[in-house]
């Protein structure tokens, strides 16, 4: 056999039709002899098939008539502004926000500031202010955990647990109560061995579902947030994106389970 050593790279090339035809048989033999690689190849192939299936319908959808008009050179009137989140979800947030603001007689929802932006901004502000504190970062420390959680749950009206983030390297420092657009919000502060701090911000707000990332342009802390079933949570920190995402995912899963969401 003159077979060269194949690698995972060849799996992709083969899948994409980029493997030279004369190597095809050799490659198949290699796959057959490497069950693990074969399984990989099959999974990637199945994923591609799944994606193709999921997207196939788009080709058959009727085209918006404005497209043909643009191509024929017609000036098409300005369309609505692009909303950088699900347009439907944004519409729902705007509607809920406007109504909520009206009923409460508080105009704290300025135009363009949807509930998720507002929560993310408040969470970032809280993090910026309190995570810098050494001695007074929290009102109640982790050594008094039960009291902390009972107190914050009672004040915010949401069932609050303290996510166990030990697997991500973070230990609870403690928490505090904060104002959030006239409502109480809870902030839990965590710290890792390298003294990096993150905070988990929770408030009973946001009826629409949304999730996303909110980052300062200047490299400050970013927030990953969820709004769901009247429960809003933002995880804030200056960690590398992937690490923050991991921590946030873990925190949300535990918080949601604790609050009986989903």
């Amino acid at each position: 056999m003159t077979a060269r050593d194949y690698t995972e790279r060849d799996i992709h090339m083969s899948l994409d039709g980029e493997l030279p035809a004369e190597e095809a048989a050799d490659f198949q033999a290699w796959l057959a002899a490497n069950p693990e690689m074969k399984a990989r190849s099959s999974r990637f192939e199945a994923d591609r098939a799944g994606l193709r299936r999921a997207l196939a319908g788009v080709l058959d959808e009727p085209l918006p008539e404005r497209f043909a008009r643009i191509v024929s050179g017609e000036r098409v009137p300005a369309r609505r502004a692009v909303l950088w989140r699900s347009a439907a979800a944004a519409a729902a947030i705007f509607a809920v926000g406007a109504l909520g603001g009206y009923l409460a007689g508080v105009g704290d929802l300025g135009l363009g500031a949807s509930a998720d932006d507002r929560i993310a901004e408040q969470a970032i502000a809280a993090h910026t202010v309190y995570s810098a504190e050494q001695r007074h970062a929290v009102e109640v420390g982790a050594d008094d955990r039960d009291h902390l959680l009972g107190w914050l749950s009672k004040r915010t009206g949401v069932t609050l647990i303290a996510p166990d983030l030990a697997a991500e390297g973070f230990e609870l420092v403690g928490g505090r109560l904060l104002p959030s657009g006239g409502k109480p919000a809870a902030m839990l502060l965590y710290e890792d061995a390298g003294k990096n701090r993150i905070s988990v911000y929770v408030t009973g707000d946001g009826e629409a579902k949304a999730r996303g990332t909110y980052a300062d342009a200047d490299g400050g802390p970013s927030a990953i947030y969820w709004l769901d079933e009247g429960y809003a949570c933002a995880v804030v920190g200056t960690l590398p994106k992937e690490r923050l995402a991991d921590v946030a995912r873990s925190a949300w899963r535990q918080l949601a389970a604790g609050a009986g969401i989903g």
């Binding site: 995972e8 790279r9 992709h12 899948l15 994409d16 039709g17 980029e18 999974r43 990637f44 994923d47 591609r48 799944g50 994606l51 193709r52 999921a54 997207l55 319908g57 788009v58 080709l59 058959d60 959808e61 085209l63 918006p64 404005r66 497209f67 043909a68 643009i70 191509v71 024929s72 050179g73 098409v76 369309r79 692009v82 909303l83 950088w84 989140r85 699900s86 347009a87 439907a88 979800a89 932006d117 579902k209 949304a210 999730r211 996303g212 990332t213 909110y214 980052a215 342009a217 990953i224 969820w226 769901d228 994106k241 995402a245 995912r249 949300w252 899963r253 949601a256 969401i261 989903g262």
Partner: protein
């Protein structure tokens, strides 16, 4: 000129599919297509005779997508998390979307934009490595590693999702 316009029209369904896969949200995707068409019309003269309309249009679209990603990084809606169905934004692009389809397109949104574009160009739109690298303006080696990493990332996200589902089933 007429031929060119007809050629552009014929590419719209594919442009839409690509945009939808990149952005998921149907309206945002159509906005991207519209931007692409408008820019293409303005630059009709730059279209070299013999150049494939598909490649030309996808290149324009890609530049617009990169611009958008750059702008949106500020307040990024580059959603990087795929949770399960109940936590996902409910904005089905089509009524007939199955849960599996939604899950995979949702997961795709969590793949980094560079990798997502590379994956789609080759895996869905059927461009060769050489063509896709040309459209994306990157060396072929970079394209290949983006495809490989993109596939890994997507698979990992789908594995996570199914693990979570299993945990849920056990909890019930």
């Amino acid at each position: 000129m007429k031929d060119r316009k007809a050629a552009i029209l014929a590419e719209i369904p594919r442009l839409r599919r690509y945009a939808r896969a990149l952005l998921h949200d149907a309206d945002a995707a159509d906005d991207l297509v519209q931007d692409c068409l408008e820019r293409a019309l303005l630059r009709l003269d730059n279209w070299q005779t013999g150049e494939s309309p598909r490649r030309w249009l996808f290149t324009i679209m890609h530049h617009l997508f990169v611009d958008q990603m750059r702008k949106s990084r500020r307040r990024s809606e580059v959603v990087m998390l795929t949770l399960d169905d109940s936590e996902a934004l409910s904005s089905p692009a089509t009524q007939t979307e199955t849960i599996a389809s939604r899950e995979i397109v949702d997961a795709l949104q969590a793949v980094s934009p560079d990798r997502r574009a590379a994956l789609l160009m080759v895996g869905i739109e059927g461009f060769s490595y050489a063509e896709a690298a040309n459209i994306l303006g990157i060396p072929a080696g970079t394209l290949m590693s983006r495809i490989a990493r993109g596939r890994e990332e997507l698979r990992g996200l789908l594995d996570d999702a199914s693990r979570r589902r299993m945990i849920r089933v056990v909890e019930r």
